[in-house]
């Protein structure tokens, strides 16, 4: 089966492109990326603030079962064109990955299908490669947290 989400990260470059076609009308795809209560559901993180407008800003936060903050990120929205484009920065707090520039382009394919093109630019190629490898480390942490949850319920 063909992969629905594609990542293109050329060696030696400091950017990457994520593309995905959705079985959703363009308006619903755009809404899913701009309304806090919906973003929370698919991103798996709390949205403390999301001002979906030019010069708006946003804050994300995830806590583990014990209430410890395990992920915190923020950014500002530079450009906001409904159903077409969002340009924003993204910075993970307390992490050595710098600030990344994200360009989200939304495209209508048919009445019921749409496409998202995410172009992410990092401060350097080395930082990009570190972020690419993050899910390896996160996977281990998440598994560990889940294990802790299970163990703490046994007590």
């Amino acid at each position: 089966m063909e992969q629905k989400t594609k990542v293109s990260a050329e060696d030696g470059k400091q950017d990457l492109v994520i593309t995905r076609e959705f079985d959703l009308p363009l308006a619903l795809l755009f809404k899913a990326c701009t309304e806090a209560d919906i973003v929370e559901q698919w991103m798996g993180t709390k949205v403390l603030k999301l001002e979906s407008k030019k010069h708006g800003s946003y804050q994300l936060e995830t806590k583990d079962g014990n209430g410890n903050v395990v992920f915190k990120a923020n950014g500002v929205i530079h450009e906001f064109i409904p159903d077409r484009k969002i340009t924003r920065t993204f910075e993970m707090e307390n992490a050595p990955f710098g600030v990344q520039l994200e360009l989200y382009e939304f495209e209508r394919l048919t009445d019921n299908t749409s496409k998202l093109n995410m172009h992410v630019i990092y401060e350097s190629g080395a930082l990009r490669d570190q972020v690419l490898q993050l899910p390896f480390a996160q996977g281990i942490n998440w598994a560990h947290n889940r294990l802790q949850d299970v163990v703490s319920k046994l007590k």
């Binding site: 989400t5 594609k6 972020v131 490898q133």
Partner: protein, 107 residues
């Protein structure tokens, strides 16, 4: 042969990527590969050598000729590097699709 270069360095070059796409279809001699490029044969030989050192090629001797073929096993390592990241976004986007298919506009 000892590998002294990494596979990412090998695929960074557009000519080398073009060579890989040629030998992915069929085993070819260095001469046949070089015919597909405007570059000097020596330049192409050098690219083949680098790909070979990275184990991206399988070498086969047939009489006096050496044939090169793409080694898909090695290429999987490259894909594996970004696969967890891709999977993370794929999971999120699948969830986005599920959430929005159930979405009912607020009154």
């Amino acid at each position: 042969m000892e590998t002294r270069r990494d596979v990412f360095q090998a695929i960074a070059d557009p000519t080398r990527r073009a060579i890989l796409s040629l030998v992915a279809l069929q085993a070819m001699t260095p001469g046949a590969i070089a015919e597909n490029f405007d570059s000097k044969r020596q330049t192409i030989s050098k690219h083949i050598q680098i790909l070979n050192e990275c184990n991206l090629l399988i070498q086969k001797q047939s009489g006096r000729e050496i044939y090169y073929q793409f080694n898909p096993k090695k290429m999987k390592e490259v894909a594996a590097f970004i696969e967890p990241f891709r999977k993370m976004w794929d999971d999120r986007f699948n969830e986005l699709e599920t959430v929005m298919k159930k979405y009912k506009p607020k009154q």
